[in-house]
Symmetry: C2
Subunit: 177 residues, 2 copies
Amino acid sequence: MNYKLNKSEVLYRGKVFDLQIDEITYDSGNNGIREIAVHAGGAVIVPITNEGKIVLVKQFRYPFQKYMLEMPAGKLNKGEDPYLCAVRELEEETGYKADKVEKLGAIATTPGFCTEILHLYIATGLTPGRHNREEGELTMEVYEYSFEDVERLISEGELYDAKSICAFYMAYNKLRN
Amino acid sequence: MNYKLNKSEVLYRGKVFDLQIDEITYDSGNNGIREIAVHAGGAVIVPITNEGKIVLVKQFRYPFQKYMLEMPAGKLNKGEDPYLCAVRELEEETGYKADKVEKLGAIATTPGFCTEILHLYIATGLTPGRHNREEGELTMEVYEYSFEDVERLISEGELYDAKSICAFYMAYNKLRN
């Protein structure tokens, strides 16, 4: 797209994201504003137990004031390798370590207004490790579901977190092929 | 989760989202900040032609400075019924009208920091309508792909938009069952 950038300003520097406002002029001569949530990205893990179950976490999601069922996931620390983030978050959130952590792909969560890219992984060969949750994650609960159960939870709207749905189907297809 | 809200402030009122900052105190006595992108939500459409192809759009995504392949979608106008948003955006972006628009479900795109809920629909019985694109969407292109093609585009990382991946697999499962 052809446009001219007139001004770019970071209005807020946050812990989770920064708010950047760009003022642009389109080819037509009209002016526009672009609001961008600048996010460092993260990693999402599909942990599969030796019994073939998927490990999900249920946690309080402040924007919705609700507990939601999701794949374990976390934000990248500054400059962190997404693979290392996946390994760290898996153990912190579920209490499992994995023998094998394989890349599934990457997704853009909301490309219209946010720079967040999430890197997706499958983790297998799980053995007990140690929980280490952040403040605000202390009420997190861990569940194990069969693939069929997860598919049902998605179709019934019980699991409606976008990254978790993407990761589930991409893992399912990888394991099927 | 138990916490006490000390202060809630909207720091920026945007066209796409507002930035809300909440100051809270956890049960432990520690203080925390919650940054929330307050978003009105939107609708995503999986348009299926009479030949069984899926209609995708390729558009410039400012946060990534890239053209991306996605399902047609759009933001809800204030108070708008998501179904009407889906019907409107389908025609505006692809130039198709649909005889039948059925709800597939809804997803939370980034529940950690954003209130956005996207309502997903399948549109069938497509007939030519009229494009009506917004400024900034004028370079949008329309493509038609088979289900197998879309699956390949996802597995090869060419289609990496989360809402589109969710909508594709949820449509695929609905049609299969």
